[in-house]
């Protein structure tokens, strides 16, 4: 079973850096790491390949500055190889362009299954996986909490507000995986050592057949017109205990319909 996992490399959320006031995008000149949201996809892919008793997980990532450290982390976990798309033409690419570029890199690999995170930790649009599916004309299931393979199809448990749906889907397909549904393994030390020499194929947008004006700022259909501070969280309600506090708390929770 051949699984391609999309991994985004992002600034460390513990030290995210700043927005560029001119472009209104996140500055990405710091060291980038594997987005934790994608460590679940990597783990899911590795488990599927283990269960299938053969095959491999390969990675694709589009990132600035030829960043590799996040890919090396995922390689150390057990992925076999990686494709990195990076060049200056890509600066300013919006989500759709990102999806087109990733789709072009994925297509070459003819995978049985493509896995992505449900949403990245930084950009957070939650749109890239479905757009990849649309570009590749593949079926797509979002918010997967488990994937079971049976022959040419998979059965996906898809998280919903009320529980989960069970969705049958033919292969190949693009599945986005919800954060937290599997426990990402720590890389083994052998894995860390081996990751340094695993194949990492670097490609430019031109290698994938994109003209310079089809990607980056020029190719983006979207424009970021404004960036605003997230509103401060409002102070919570303090309930003083005069002997009746528990009733007020119950009422409060009932109003929220959480109990």
């Amino acid at each position: 079973m051949k699984v391609v996992v999309c991994v985004k490399q992002i600034p460390d959320p513990a030290d995210p850096g700043a927005l560029d006031p001119e472009t209104r995008t996140l500055k990405r000149d710091v060291k980038l790491i594997l987005d934790e949201s994608d460590s679940y996809g990597v783990e899911m892919g590795l488990q599927l390949v283990d269960n299938a008793g053969g095959g491999e997980v390969t990675l694709v990532s589009m990132a600035p500055n030829n960043e590799q450290s996040g890919l090396r982390t995922a390689l150390a976990m057990g992925a076999a190889s990686a494709t990195l798309i990076s060049d200056t033409e890509l600066i300013g690419s919006d989500a759709l362009t990102t999806a087109k570029v990733l789709a072009a890199a994925i297509k070459d690999q003819e995978p049985d299954l493509v896995i992505a995170g449900s949403e990245s930790s930084d950009g957070y649009t939650g749109t890239v996986p479905e757009m990849i599916a649309a570009v590749l004309d593949l079926p797509s299931v979002t918010a997967a909490k488990s994937i079971e393979v049976g022959g040419d199809a998979i059965q996906v448990q898809r998280q919903t507000d009320a529980g989960y749906d069970v969705v049958d889907c033919p292969l190949p397909a693009v599945i986005s995986v919800t954060a937290g549904v599997v426990e990402p393994r720590y890389p083994s030390f052998k894995g860390i050592m081996a990751a340094k020499s695993k194949p990492l194929d670097e490609k430019s947008s031109a290698d994938l057949g994109f003209a310079a004006d089809a990607v980056g700022w020029a190719g983006s259909g979207q424009e970021i017109v404004d960036v605003a501070e997230a509103p401060q969280r409002e102070a919570g309600e303090v309930i003083e205990d005069d002997g009746e506090a528990h009733l007020k708390i119950v009422e409060f929770l009932e109003n929220l319909k959480v109990i």
Partner: protein, 375 residues
Amino acid sequence: MIDTLREFVDRDVLPNVAEFELVDAYPEAMVDQLRAFGLFGATIGEGHGGLGLDASTYARVIEELSRGWMSLAGVINSHLICAQLIERFGTDEQRAAWLPSMASGELRGCFSLSEPDSGSDAAALRCRAKKDGDELVINGTKMWVTNGERAGIVALLARTSDDAISCFLVDKQPGPEGDGGISISRHIDKLGYRGLETVEMSYADHRLSADSLLGGEEGLGQGFRWALSALELGRINVAARGVGVAQAAFDAAMAYAQERETFGRPIAQHQAIGFKLAEMATKLHAARLMVTDAARRVDAGERADVEAGMAKLFASETAAELALESMRIHGGNGFTTEYPVERLYRDAPLMIIGEGTSEIQKMVISRALLARAKE
């Protein structure tokens, strides 16, 4: 590698230690993760399926584990001393038979030198191996066998004649029942270093095949010398543990000193406490440099007996001192199980006793210095 371990320690070890430590429960899941990391093969050669880490990297691994919980460093220490004896002094057959499964952690090893009446004076050991036809018969009592219950192989030091000690590779079923003439005669209840087992093991007419002698026929009478040389790795391990425990004590003290306020300011702003922090940081730094230097010498193939001994002596004493200083800084809270310092305070003394007490360390260092002076 060290980054990955740091993440493991912060995420999986520190929040859970107390749960296992206070009730002396074996941290099965943490040990499984050590196995998954490949750490049971940390210093075993890559040709035998290990990681082949050099002493410098190994020391950093042990330091990081000990920052979380010293017992985790103990789980792999005597296993690796046993593996090192096999790798350096065993026959090709012995290496092939034991090392790959030890490297994967499927087979666990332990090291059994000490006895009830022989610790510092290890050469006074009384356990005996007598030849009986093609076999050997072992009789005696061994004390302080860390990992003894879960081990499937014991590097056992026993007397093969009045003036010769040899090392045997004793194959046994892991588990509390013992095996053949071996019994786990006592579980030792310890002040610290809890969670992993340290046991007394008795041998009553336990029979071994002739090929259990480490190094084959040529190994007869070599065991003691070999064991002392393998303990050099143990000394680096214990010294690195000292640095890890001292770091944990210092980290806790720093955090607490900035948080806790008395007389209208954080206690770190009182000079008496600030100076304590300065002294702690200085000693910690010195201990770390000594361990780094000793490990570097080992890696360069230089003589390191004096330096490894000094590092072990200084780092273990520093850990004990910093644990107590950190407890002082924590005031009454330091004396409770709510805070991790009391565990560090209970764990630290082991390092001034195990793998040669501080007194013995000074004997070894001074003898080696005098010998070097004569050269």
